[in-house]
């Protein structure tokens, strides 16, 4: 508790009494930077974070944005582009460095995804899920599993999928029914997983399955490799957006894996899955944020170029007010996301609630921003020649996955009502 208070003191002193900050004890970490978040995404970041953002944005503009419409239209999973992204350190951003992770913070990951998603939301969202899986193995996996998988995942030579949802267990994930029965030194898995991002095209599946009693405490997290007999996939789903990554059901029929493939302890699976999702929620919200940032910029350009009734659209007060609201929502979203990322990094007592709030608020606010951006484009906004519609289609699902926004409200309300 004490370090927390001291840190707060430093923050306050920076803002109000800048001159006294030198007499306070120096604490390593991010608290010495100035914390103002603004429409400029790099505002309030440290010098290194600015570089990270810039590198990710350059990558997004040069390697992804020119292809994002094609990846969407032809449903191309851009594996080579993702490997290239991984070569810069984007494959396992917040996994430890000893086996090839990049060893950065949740905030660093958030600003990376915010930048990358401007080039393609769908591809970035998959990269973020892959990062979440790498972190789960890195944090909870035994040393031998980390040593085997982290290098391959960090380089994205091998791709990972997160498998929690089932046809009969969505928001009520704790009731999942995929089973893993012990047989000698092995586990035999049976059941099916629905809506699996990357499913069929990825190499490593982290399957939440029941190894014990009913309810969350009987669930374990088991790593299953593609190619294991008994592992198969459903048809590729047709989706509104997120078309640059395949979504399939994952089917397990007497699928036998060594018991040593359990990540963490037996019965710890649900907890691991939820911990992964805390970061996943920040990551997904960051992808919405990138789409909103790009849409705001595109709209500002459009309003200044497009003329109707003899003047640029930007000269109409209605449009000015729309832009003002979009920008305000954007900054509010960014503040919530970055605040939650910092909370998660530091295991703040309220980090679960803050991550849920950031996901709830930012995915909705950013969807509204992009929807308004589309409206400001008029008929052009509805054409696939213009990027806004793709941002809109791609971020719509962010209100549904990684825990629906309704589940976010359950989590938040539970926390608030418990503490009163």
């Amino acid at each position: 508790m004490l370090p927390c208070l001291v840190r707060r003191a430093v923050v306050i002193s920076n803002h109000r009494y800048g001159h006294v900050k030198n007499v306070l004890p120096k604490i390593p970490g991010s608290y010495h930077r100035h914390l103002v978040t603004s429409v400029d995404p790099s505002s309030g970041l440290t010098e290194e974070q600015e570089q990270i953002y810039k590198t990710a944005l350059d990558f997004a503009h040069l390697e992804m944005r020119p292809h994002m419409a094609e990846w969407d239209e032809h449903e191309i999973f851009p594996v080579e582009t993702m490997k290239k992204a991984a070569s810069l350190g984007f494959g396992a951003i917040y996994a430890r460095e000893d086996f090839g992770g990049t060893g950065l913070s949740r905030l660093d990951a958030s600003i990376t995804f915010e930048a990358l998603s401007q080039g393609c939301v769908s591809t970035t969202a998959y990269i973020s899920i892959h990062n979440m899986c790498a972190w789960m193995i890195d944090t909870f996996g035994r040393e031998d599993l980390r040593k085997l998988w982290i290098p391959q995942l960090a380089s994205m030579e091998k791709l990972a999928s997160y498998c929690l949802t089932e046809p009969g267990a969505g928001s009520d994930a704790g009731s999942l029914s995929t089973t893993a029965k012990k047989s000698g030194g092995d586990l035999i898995l049976n059941g099916s997983k629905a809506f699996i991002s990357g499913g069929g095209d990825t190499d490593v599946y982290l399957i939440m399955c029941r190894t014990g009693e009913p309810g969350p405490k009987g669930i374990s997290c088991v790593l299953v490799e593609k190619g294991t007999p008994g592992l198969s996939f459903g048809k590729k789903e047709k989706k509104i957006g997120w078309n640059s990554q395949p979504t399939r059901a994952v089917i397990l029929e007497d699928c036998r894996v060594p018991i040593t493939n359990i990540i963490g302890k037996e019965g710890q699976g649900f907890s691991i899955a939820m911990k992964g999702l805390n970061g996943g929620r920040i990551n997904i919200a960051s992808c919405s944020l990138g789409a909103a940032q790009a849409s705001l910029e595109i709209s500002a350009d459009h309003l200044q170029v497009r003329k109707q009734f003899g003047k640029p659209l930007a000269d109409f007060q209605h449009n000015q007010f729309q832009m003002a609201r979009m920008a305000t929502k954007l900054v509010a979203s960014r503040m919530m996301i970055r605040n939650a990322a910092t909370a998660l990094e530091e295991s703040h007592p309220n980090h679960v609630t803050l991550c849920s709030m950031a996901k709830l608020y930012a995915t909705e606010a950013c969807f509204e921003i992009v929807n308004t951006a589309l409206q400001l484009h008029g008929g052009y906004g509805y054409l696939k020649d213009y990027a806004v519609q793709q941002y809109l289609r791609d971020i719509r699902v962010h209100l549904i996955l990684e825990g629906t926004n309704e589940v976010m409200q359950m989590v938040i309300a539970k926390d608030i009502l418990k503490s009163k």
Binding site: E48, Q51, I52, T55, F59, E97, G103, L104, D108
Partner: protein, 254 residues
């Protein structure tokens, strides 16, 4: 070989930004505008890093001159693989009237102080398009120059450089020490990786003033006016070649 390379990196308005002229026509708007490393200088850094990777060079010193934000540009160079940075701080009106000759003098002095074997700069900066710094630096040092390089090969005590010239490609050999300017097709610069961005933080940046290098940067020129390029006028369709000629004659072009 174990050469020391000095690379000049300039902070310029990002190539993707739409340039706007200040209302009083004294210059272009730079406040709140995204800046990046001059793209030709990125190519220069990349080439130096490749020479270090091939063990031709042992140390890369990145140099930038301008306001405090130039340190960001230097950090980018360090993240790409330069070993240390030198920032010569010039701000305000002096910065606005800074000329290639000033930079050349600084580079020349640093080349002596730091025992540099090769200076690499971008062939020009995308803001003022001067294309003068390499040439003047070589003159001040009385070193050979290889400008607009599209290929560089180190050969015992000299560099073989392919230059892009109007008529095609020219291959020349220059003795070390030398000054090289990088053209667009010399290489494709790498992205800084996240681990290297973090490592760059620990690399040193030395801060100097023009005075430390004995360079007088007091303005020699005065900016009279900066204007937008003329707006393109609407065209007209013509039926055939004769009408084109007729129109051109009428407009006084032929």
């Amino acid at each position: 070989m174990s050469l020391r390379i000095l690379v000049g990196v300039k902070r310029v308005i990002d190539y993707a930004v739409k340039i706007r002229v200040k209302p009083d026509k004294s210059g272009v708007i730079t406040e709140g505008v995204k800046h990046s490393m001059n793209p030709f200088d990125e190519i220069a850094i990349e080439e130096a890093v490749r020479m270090k990777e091939k063990k031709i060079a042992k140390e890369i010193v990145a140099f930038s001159c301008g306001p405090a934000q130039c340190q960001e540009t230097l950090r980018t160079a360090l993240a790409m693989g330069a070993d240390r940075g030198i920032h010569v701080e010039v701000a305000g009106p002096q910065y606005e009237t800074l000329q290639p000759l000033h930079i050349s003098k600084m580079l020349a002095k640093l080349a002596k102080d730091e025992q540099i074997d090769i200076i690499i700069v971008g062939k020009q900066a995308i803001d003022d398009d001067c294309n003068q710094t390499a040439q003047m630096t070589a003159a001040l040092l009385d070193w050979p120059q290889a400008t607009s390089a599209s290929k560089i090969e180190a050969k015992d005590g000299s560099l073989q450089v392919v230059r892009e010239i109007d008529g095609g490609l020219e291959t020349i050999k220059v003795k070390l020490p030398t000054v090289v300017s990088a053209d667009l097709r010399l290489n494709e610069p790498r992205y800084a990786t996240l681990p290297n961005i973090m490592k760059a933080k620990k690399k040193p940046i030395k801060k100097l003033t023009p005075k430390d290098l004995g360079v007088d940067v007091s303005p020699r020129i005065q900016i009279v006016t900066v204007e937008e390029p003329p707006v393109r006028l609407a065209g007209a369709k013509v039926e055939n070649v004769d009408m084109v000629v007729e129109k051109l004659k009428a407009l006084g072009h032929a």
